[in-house]
C-alpha cells in the first residue's frame, strides 16, 4: 500500500519531538509533512507547481479516488435533494404507520412515533453537510493561520505549540463532553468541537511544512534575490503545502462526520426531533430485533460518508509518493 509512513530513521533525525510531529490520530493516510515535504520540492516539481491542480483531479477520476468521490457526491446529492426524493417530512408523523418493517413504501421502515426513517436519514445528511463544509474549513483556516504564526514568529511558537498540546490532550469525544457541559446539547457544540479538533492538526501540518520548506535551496534563493517573506509564503510555501493540506482536509471531513454522528448518538449532539444519522441509529438500537433496517440504513450512510472522504484522502496522499 502506498500510504505515508515515516521511515524509521526519521524520528532519530528530529529527536524527541518526532512523536509529537506525527498526526495524533496516527491515521496512516495522513501525509505528515516531515515525510512528504522533501519529496514534493524537487526543482522539477516546483517549476511544475501550476500543473498540480489538473493532476489532482485526474487522481480522483479512477480507482479508489473515483469511488470515494462517488460515495461522497452521491450522499451529498441525497441530502440536498431530500425534499424531492421523499413524499414525507422529516418530522411528519404518518397516521397508522407505527414501527412498520422495511417495505417498498418505507425503505428503512418507520419509527415508534410513525415517522419515515428513510426521510429522516436523508434530512439527517444535511447536518453533516453543514459541519463538513462550514466547520471543517473554518477549523482548517484557523489552524493554518496559527501554524503560520508559530513558524514565523519565534515567541509565538511556544505558546501556540502548548495550546495545540492542550487541545490534543483531550480525546475528541471527551472534549465533546466537556464542551457540551458548558453549551448544552445542540448543533453549536458540534461546531465548536469540530473546529477545535481541527486547529492543531492543520497548525502542526503547516508549521512543520514551513520549517522544512524554508531550509530548501529554492527558498534560500528567493530570499537571496530579495523576495519578501509574504511573497515567499504565497509563492513557495503555500503551493508546496497544498497537497498535504488537501489530504488533511479530506481526512478532517471524515472525522467531522464521525464526530457529529457520534455526538448525536450519545445524545450530546443534534437534539430531537431534528434528524441526524447519529440520533436515528441510537433510537433504532432498541428495536434491532424487529426492525433492523432502521439502524442498518443510516449506518450505511454514515459509513459511506466517512469511507468516501478517507478514500479521497488516500488517493491524493498516495499519488505524491509515486
Amino acid at each position: 500500500m502506498t500510504d505515508t509512513v515515516q521511515t524509521p530513521t526519521r524520528p532519530a533525525a528530529d529527536a524527541p519531538t518526532a512523536p509529537e510531529q506525527q498526526l495524533p490520530t496516527a491515521t496512516p493516510a495522513a501525509a505528515t509533512p516531515a515525510a512528504a515535504g522533501p519529496a514534493s520540492v524537487t526543482p522539477a516539481e516546483d517549476v511544475a507547481a501550476v500543473a498540480t491542480a489538473p493532476r489532482r483531479r485526474r487522481v480522483l477520476l479512477h480507482g479508489r479516488g473515483l469511488f470515494g468521490l462517488l460515495l461522497v457526491g452521491g450522499i451529498l446529492l441525497l441530502g440536498l435533494f431530500a425534499p424531492l426524493l421523499t413524499p414525507y417530512g422529516p418530522t411528519e408523523q404518518i397516521p397508522g404507520a407505527n414501527l412498520l418493517p422495511a417495505s417498498g413504501r418505507h425503505l428503512f421502515g418507520t419509527d415508534e412515533v410513525n415517522r419515515d426513517v428513510l426521510t429522516r436519514a436523508l434530512y439527517g445528511i444535511r447536518v453533516d453537510v453543514l459541519v463538513v463544509f462550514v466547520a471543517v474549513p473554518l477549523g482548517a483556516l484557523l489552524g493554518t493561520a496559527a501554524g503560520t504564526l508559530a513558524a514565523l514568529i519565534r515567541p509565538a511558537d511556544v505558546a501556540v505549540q502548548r495550546i495545540f498540546d492542550v487541545i490534543l490532550a483531550f480525546p475528541p469525544i471527551i472534549l465533546a463532553i466537556g464542551v457540551t457541559a458548558i453549551l448544552g446539547a445542540g448543533i453549536t457544540p458540534i461546531f465548536v468541537v469540530v473546529v477545535a479538533v481541527e486547529i492543531p492538526y492543520f497548525g502542526r501540518l503547516l508549521r512543520s511544512s514551513i520549517l522544512t520548506l524554508r531550509e530548501l535551496p529554492f527558498v534560500e534563493a528567493a530570499e537571496a534575490i530579495g523576495a519578501s517573506r509574504w511573497w515567499i509564503l504565497r509563492r513557495h510555501i503555500l503551493p508546496n503545502s497544498a497537497e498535504p493540506l488537501f489530504v488533511q482536509l479530506a481526512l478532517s471531513m471524515s472525522i467531522a462526520v464521525f464526530l457529529e454522528s457520534a455526538m448525536s448518538f450519545l445524545g450530546i449532539g443534534v437534539r430531537p426531533p431534528e434528524p441526524s444519522l447519529g440520533t436515528i441509529i441510537a433510537d433504532a438500537v432498541s428495536d434491532l430485533d424487529t426492525a433492523p433496517m432502521q439502524a442498518v440504513g443510516p449506518l450505511l450512510l454514515v459509513t459511506g460518508f466517512v469511507l468516501g472522504f478517507q478514500l479521497i484522502a488516500q488517493a491524493v496522499g498516495a499519488r505524491r509518493r509515486i
Partner: protein, 319 residues
C-alpha cells in the same frame, strides 16, 4: 535516559496543568449557580449563603482552584450531585471495568496487527492483498458505534450466540469463560479501528525495511526469509510501531465512551455519559481531568519506551 526524562516530563506536567485550569474554568462557565440549584427554589438567602460557604464558592477563584486541585491530587473527588455518593468510589468502580475493556481491546488489536502486518507486507498473492486492503480500509473508516451496532445485530440478534450487553452477573473474575463471552463484542468493536491502523502501519514499515540494503546483504548471505522478516525487519520496525500503539491507546478512551454506551458496560465512559445527562458537573470535571491525565501519561510512556528501543532518540534528547 535520565536526561531525556528531565527534558520530557516538564512539558507533560505543563500540559496537565493547563488542561486542569481549562477544566476548572469549564465548570465556572456553566450557566447557573450550583448553590441555588442545590438549595432549591424557595430556600432563604441565608441557606444559599451557607451552602455557598460549604462548597467554598465564597472564596477567590485561584484559591478555589487550589483547593479543588489539592483534593483531586489526594484522590478526594468530592460528592456526586445526582447519586449522592463519593465520586472517588464511583470512579474507582468504573475505572476497573474500563481498564479491563481497553486493555483487552489493545491486546486484541496488537495481536491482529502482529498477524496481519507481516502477511500483508510480504504476500505475493494479489487476491489476498486486495482482500486485506479492502477489509482494512473499511475497518479504519467504520465508526465505533457503527461496528458496535452491526456486531450486536449479527451475533446477538441474527445468530444469538453472545450476550448483547452488560457485564458478567457474578463479577469479572468469577468465571473467566463467562467474562470472555461478555467481553468479546465490546473489545472487538473497540479494537477494530486500532488494529486496522496498526496493521497498515506495520505492513508499510516492514515493506520499507525490506527494501533496505542490509536486507539485500542478509539475503545474499543466505539468511532465511522468515528470519529476515521476523528478526531483522521487525526489530527495526518496532520503535515507530510502539509510538503508533501509544497514540492509538490514547484514542481508546474516547472510543470506550461510545462502546460502553452501546454495550451497557459500566465503566468511566458510561459514568461520564450519565453525569452529563444529569448535569452532575463535579463528576464530569473529575472524569475530564482523569481522561486527560491518562492520555498525557500514555503519551509520556510511549515516548519513554520509544527512547528505550531507539538509542538515537535518547541520545538526541541528551544533547
Amino acid at each position: 535516559m535520565l536526561r531525556y526524562l528531565v527534558r520530557r516530563v516538564p512539558s507533560a506536567v505543563l500540559v496537565l496543568f493547563l488542561a486542569s485550569v481549562l477544566i476548572f474554568a469549564i465548570i465556572r462557565l456553566i450557566p447557573g449557580d450550583p448553590a441555588t440549584s442545590l438549595a432549591g427554589s424557595d430556600a432563604s438567602p441565608e441557606a444559599v449563603a451557607a451552602i455557598r460557604h460549604d462548597l467554598g464558592l465564597d472564596q477567590s477563584v485561584p484559591s478555589q482552584y487550589l483547593s479543588w486541585i489539592g483534593n483531586v491530587l489526594t484522590l478526594d473527588f468530592g460528592q456526586s450531585y445526582s447519586v449522592g455518593g463519593e465520586i472517588t468510589s464511583l470512579v474507582a468502580d468504573g475505572f476497573g471495568n474500563t481498564v479491563i475493556l481497553t486493555l483487552s481491546a489493545l491486546l486484541l488489536a496488537i495481536l491482529i496487527a502482529a498477524v496481519v502486518g507481516p502477511i500483508w507486507a510480504t504476500t505475493r498473492n494479489h487476491w489476498l492483498e486486495s482482500a486485506i486492503t479492502v477489509v482494512n480500509t473499511i475497518s479504519v473508516a467504520l465508526p465505533t458505534f457503527v461496528s458496535g451496532v452491526l456486531l450486536v445485530l449479527l451475533l446477538t440478534v441474527i445468530f444469538p450466540v453472545l450476550p448483547s450487553a452488560g457485564i458478567p452477573p457474578d463479577g469479572m473474575f468469577a468465571r473467566l469463560d463467562i467474562t470472555a463471552q461478555y467481553l468479546v463484542l465490546p473489545a472487538l468493536c473497540l479494537a477494530l479501528p486500532v488494529s486496522a491502523v496498526l496493521s497498515r502501519f506495520l505492513a508499510e514499515t516492514l515493506r520499507t525495511e525490506l527494501r533496505q540494503p542490509y536486507v539485500l546483504t542478509a539475503t545474499a548471505l543466505g539468511v532465511p526469509r522468515r528470519r529476515l522478516l521476523l528478526r531483522y525487519a521487525m526489530r527495526n520496525a518496532l520503535p515507530t510501531t510502539v509510538t503508533v500503539i501509544g497514540l492509538q491507546a490514547g484514542s481508546l478512551l474516547g472510543g470506550a465512551v461510545l462502546v460502553e454506551a452501546i454495550f451497557a458496560w459500566p465503566g468511566i465512559g458510561q459514568l461520564i455519559e450519565q453525569a452529563i445527562g444529569r448535569r452532575d458537573y463535579p463528576v464530569v470535571q473529575v472524569l475530564l481531568l482523569l481522561s486527560v491525565f491518562i492520555f498525557v501519561v500514555i503519551q509520556l510512556l510511549t515516548d519513554v519506551v520509544h527512547a528505550l528501543l531507539d538509542p538515537r532518540v535518547r541520545i538526541g534528547g541528551a544533547q
